[in-house]
Symmetry: C2
Subunit: 189 residues, 2 copies
């Protein structure tokens, strides 16, 4: 049995959170989600993704009133004109955002009031791989470092446990550390 | 020996591109890059990354005049208020953007003039994993599908080869398919 509280904690409606968890436990078929992005090349290193619709809880979710438009680019040294963060930087953002939200939700569930969550991420890359100059270095980051600073109304040990649990449940952390099967198809007309 | 052309093709300065490749071949130590993001929690599922500085070609790159500020969020069904695309959607954007830029650069190098590059990406997830309801489904996407439509002044076969080569060299495609070691540390004061 789930204990219901009426508290919004860390900006999260914990009553809704526990109700959602109960519903998905009772009807696991509602847990099938599909997220999507469409992308269009603009010029050079400039392209733009549009993100709006997704499938969730047994049907197409139509609650989003507008699409997110997200521009990518490259800095001059990688032949772009800074029309947006570059794709590898967006991957760092995706990882930072997912770990942070996971920390906030886990803390809310565990009755920890957070006061701040900040992180710095670094990704080290030998660009000879992606540029096709050398086959030895991999194309992507060799390693990613994530440094969190988390403060709240709990002892350091408990805050550390929240971060550990968040990493254990983060969707993007799972994908970035373990990889995902990707199928690419192409049409040319 | 690299053939230098003075053409800007697909918005890419191919002269600069071949000069960069030659330089990195001659001085591989210039290929060490580090990209970074800092992220700050705002409230609930809302957090924001700031992306500006990076290390490239033997020093800190200072050509970017302003930082990119990128907001993340969650839709209502995942306890947010759509303050931005969600982290898993940003991962799809990172993948779409990297593959697209790789296609554009490979085409430029191979003297293919592109007229359009569009893609649709889907990621299928059983949210029982990330929500901690069940240990069996993984937290992240079970699979990602990428559908490209590419047009340009080359036969379908050559356009297909460009996409294939781009996937083989894309930094984010490598990371998403193969995974990256991620080290997380935490301070709490």
């Amino acid at each position: 049995m789930t204990v219901i509280t009426d508290a919004t904690r860390n900006g999260v409606d914990t009553e809704q959170m526990f109700a959602t968890l109960d519903l998905i436990k009772a009807q696991p078929e509602l847990a099938k989600f599909q997220f999507r992005a469409t992308n269009r090349w603009i010029d050079g290193a400039h392209n733009r993704s549009t993100i709006k619709g997704f499938y969730a809880a047994g049907g197409e979710d139509t609650t989003r009133s507008k699409a997110f438009e997200i521009d990518a680019g490259e800095p001059a040294i990688l032949l772009g004109s800074d029309t947006g963060a570059n794709p590898a930087e967006y991957l760092l953002h995706a990882l930072a955002a997912c770990l942070t939200t996971s920390i906030v939700y886990v803390a809310a569930a565990r009755k920890v009031e957070l006061t701040s969550v900040e992180s710095t991420l670094t990704g080290d890359m030998d660009v000879r791989g992606a540029l096709g100059v050398d086959d030895e270095p991999r194309n992507g980051f060799e390693r990613i470092g994530v440094s969190f600073r988390v403060t709240g109304d709990a002892p350091a040990e408990k805050l550390g446990e929240v971060v550990e649990r968040a990493a254990k449940r983060s969707a993007v952390y799972d994908m970035v550390t373990n990889g995902v099967p990707v199928a690419v198809d192409v049409t040319t007309d």
